[in-house]
Structures are given as C-alpha cells and as structure tokens.
C-alpha cells in the first residue's frame, strides 16, 4: 500500500514561501479554509466516481442494444421468417427498422460517452483546486482565501503543513492524480470502443466511418485537452494504452463488419474497466475519508 508520507513543516520553507506575517498566525487562519476546501473537493471527487459508474453502465446497455440491432440486420438474410416470408419487402423493411434502432442506440451511447468525458474533466478540475490561497495578499484587514493564486509566492499549501492530521496538500493532490490517471486511461480505451461501435455498418454506403483523429462530438477535442488526452504533437487524441503499457499505433482502420465474437469481446472489455483498479480506488477514498473525517463511500 502506498501511503503519502506526512510532510513535516519546514520552517525555512514556510517563511520563504508563505506570504503571511508569522507562520503560527497564518496557519491558524489558513487551516479552516483549507480544510473546508479539501472536504468540498473530495466530496465532489466521490460523486464524480458515482457518476462515472452510472454513465459507464448505461453506455454498456446502449452498446449491447446497438450490437444486437446490428447483428440482427447482419443475419436478416438467413433468418427463418415462416409465414411472414411472403410479405413484400419484409426483410428490407425489417432491416431498415433495425438500422434506425441501431442509430438511436448509437446516439445514446455517444451521449453517455460524453458524460464520461465530462466526469473526467470535472475530476481534473477538482484536483487542480485543492490548494487554498490568500486572497488579496496580506495587506487587506479581512483575511480571505480563494482557490486561485493572487501572489506568486503563495503556493497555497501553507508551506506544506498537514491540513488535518497528517497530510499536506500535495499528498492529497498525489492521490487525486493517481485516481485520475486510472479514469483517463479508461476513457481513452472507451473512446476506441465507442468509435468502433459507431462505425458498425451492414452496408458500406450507410453509417459513418469514425476515424480516431476526428471528433466524436463537436468540442470533444477541447474537452480532451482539459484531461490531457489530446496530443499537440500528433494533433489527435492520445492513443489508448494500459498503465505501464504502450500502444503499437497501427492504423486504426477498423473492421466495419466484425462478427459476434469480436463484438462480445468489445462489450466485455467495456465491462471489465481494465484500467480501473476498484480495490485501489476504494482504498484511496477510504484513506482520504478517514483523514478529512468525511465518509466518502
């Protein structure tokens, strides 16, 4: 288990980086505001995690329905229709209806994916708002704090003192970073799955071909930039990989008419969330919850 080391306050550091007149005074003022902020940000992190779970699971439902509609179309020519087989254009009509269904599940899948992007963006923003800065410098008579820095010398962590019992701001940030890393990798993998599923088509002429370097929805790349999932070198989203793993970067040409076995692997991969170590996530929230005295799970 990886536990952040409690940082002992170094007096030289605090006097050089703290904008406050005396360390003891500033700490007393700073701590309640910093505690309030951390409780706030971590409660948000916990609720973002729940949102992820619910979006990911509804996305999976849509993905499964999409796959079923696609496979029914694919097998339509071979389907035994019994008494219905004499109805004019019955196969064509049924296929068209299934195609419409596939499209509608596709758009639901896309909006669930979008929700997941927003969740990760929110997590990133929360992790960047863990510090607590003095507002308006120490000149004003009323001491106020904010989440944005007004003074380059103010690091927002009161010189690395423990905020509650043991941990400094940067310990909290490190754990948030560890969490976000898992969700980012998983989002990237899910983006590949979404683009593959949306590309499914029984006829070459129909359906959209989704390409890795095209946005799945307008504004997606802006959102991915916030999550640090867009490469400014290759001008496309960061390729999916596993933790400590690499991506081979072959051409993502994609098979537009995969069989049910491939699709089953896609759905299973969606379900498995290979990048998210649930036990570690639970452990992180439990540790933080204990430290900030707010149950987070």
């Amino acid at each position: 288990m990886e536990t952040p080391e409690p940082k002992s306050q170094s007096s030289s550091l605090s006097s050089s980086s703290s904008p406050f007149p005396s360390p003891s005074y500033s700490e007393r003022q700073w701590r309640p505001a910093a505690q309030r902020n951390l409780r706030n940000q971590w409660s948000k992190m916990a609720s973002y995690r729940q949102q992820w779970l619910s979006s990911s699971s509804s996305a999976r439902t849509h993905a499964t329905s999409l796959v079923n509609a696609y496979l029914s179309q694919k097998y339509m020519p071979l389907m035994e229709l019994g008494a219905l087989k004499d109805m004019p254009d019955i196969r064509k009509k049924a296929s068209l209806k299934l195609f419409k269904q596939q499209e509608s599940h596709g758009s639901k899948l896309l909006s669930s994916y979008k929700e997941m992007v927003v969740v990760v963006m929110n997590m990133v923003n929360a992790s960047k708002s863990m510090r607590c800065f003095l507002k308006g410098g120490n000149s004003s008579s009323l001491v106020q704090f904010s989440s944005t820095s007004g003074d380059v010398n103010d690091t927002g962590d009161c010189g690395g003192v423990a905020v509650f019992g043991f941990w400094s701001i940067s310990s909290f940030e490190r754990l948030a970073e560890e969490l976000i890393q898992m969700f980012k990798l998983e989002l990237s993998l899910k983006r590949l799955l979404v683009s593959e599923l949306l590309s499914l088509s029984c006829e070459v002429s129909r359906g959209n071909q989704f390409c890795w370097s095209n946005e799945l929805y307008p504004g997606e790349f802006g959102d991915l930039k916030v999550c640090n999932l867009y490469s400014n070198e290759t001008f496309e989203p960061v390729r999916p990989r596993l933790k400590d793993g690499k991506s081979d970067m072959p051409t993502f040409q994609g098979n537009r008419q995969p069989g049910h076995e491939i699709l089953q692997v896609y759905i299973t991969t969606w379900l498995a969330e290979v990048n998210i170590d649930v036990h570690r996530v639970d452990e992180i929230f439990a540790m933080i919850g204990e430290e900030i005295h707010v149950p987070l799970s």
């Binding site: 993998l189 596993l242 098979n255 089953q264 299973t268 290979v274």
Partner: protein
C-alpha cells in the same frame, strides 16, 4: 393433546419462515449462477487475440481483460459459497425443529403409544402427522442442499474447461430443486393447518 398440537403448529410456522428464507437465498443463488456462467461462457472467446480486432493496438489488452474477468468470477464463486452457508443454516434450523418435534412426544409425562399418536380429533392433525411432516421437510431440504453443494463445486470445475451444454444443465437443476416437491410440502401444511383452511 390439543396443547400438544398447538405446540407443533408453532413449529410448522417456524418451518414456514425458514422455507421463505430458503426461497430468498435460492433467488440470490440463481442470479449469482447466471453471472458466473455468463463469464465462463465467454472465457474462450476472450482468450483469443484474434477477437480483439482493433483493440490489439493496445499492448497486453487480452491479458488484462482476462485477468479482470477471472477476478470477477472468483468473487462470484466466493459469494456463492457464502450463499451455500446460508442454505446450510436453514437446513440446520429445520433439523432442530424435527428433533424437537420428536422430543416433544418422548418428553411428555406418559409415554404415548402408537394408537395415541394416530388419534385424530376433528380436522386437527394427528401427532404422527406432525412428527412425520417435520421430518419430511428437513429431509427434502437436506437432500437439496447436498445437491446444490455438488452443483456449485461442479461450476468451479467447469470454469477451467467450459461447455455450454453442461452450464445449461447445471442451471436447470439449480432452478428445478428436484428434491423439494412443492406438492408434498403443500400437503403437509394443509394437514397441519386444516382447521384454518376450513
């Protein structure tokens, strides 16, 4: 005599509670079984790299997916074992009920003879009906518990070399509960509580 019958009826009420617990545990076991068998059924597909198509660009993906699925399967199998413990607790309660039922006549001041045990007052059950009924309920559930235990361990074995036909057969046996004959159970309760039905 009548107070004796009342005491037995109390025991049957307790038995009915235990059996409704059994039903809850049964539906939990079925849903756990479904989850486990859907994982087992796809193990072969997810082990084949060919089925990963575009996902193959992600190094190690098939190992990671397989690992996650095995972890989930392990968790489900563990909770199925816990479910079996709950079944066992019901069987033990039923065992105690039938034991106490037998003691009740033995412990009474004057030893009952066969005739007294068969003596019937109006629609009330005979003492023999009560004793035998409790024994029967226990026997059925014990046999069913033993069957389920062997099915659950068979499932763990199947995880290693899946065969969808076998999975279906196991599922059917779990759902059917062949040792618990609902008609007979109903009959036992009808006799014991005949006066309430009239």
């Amino acid at each position: 005599m009548e107070t004796m019958i009342k005491k037995y009826q109390q025991k049957f009420k307790k038995a009915r509670e235990e059996m409704s617990k059994w039903d809850d545990i049964q539906s939990r076991l079925i849903s756990q079984f479904r989850n486990a068998s859907s994982i087992i059924a796809r193990l072969e597909i997810i082990q084949n790299t060919k089925n990963y198509a575009s996902l193959n660009s992600i190094g190690g993906i098939e190992v990671a997916v397989m690992q996650k699925q095995m972890d989930s399967l392990q968790t489900i199998l563990l909770s199925m074992r816990k479910t079996m413990e709950d079944f066992r607790a019901v069987v033990l309660s039923l065992e105690k009920l039938q034991y106490d039922g037998k003691q009740l006549v033995k412990g009474s001041s004057n030893q009952m003879n066969k005739k007294q045990l068969q003596h019937r007052i109006g629609v009330k059950p005979t003492l023999a009906n009560c004793i035998d009924g409790l024994v029967l309920l226990h026997e059925m559930h014990l046999a069913e518990y033993l069957l389920k235990s062997s099915l659950v361990s068979a499932l763990s074995t199947l995880a290693l070399k899946p065969n969808s036909g076998d999975l279906g057969a196991l599922h059917q046996l779990l759902v059917d509960q062949p040792n618990i004959l609902s008609e007979e159970v109903k009959c036992v309760f009808d006799i014991v509580f005949a006066e309430e039905i009239c």
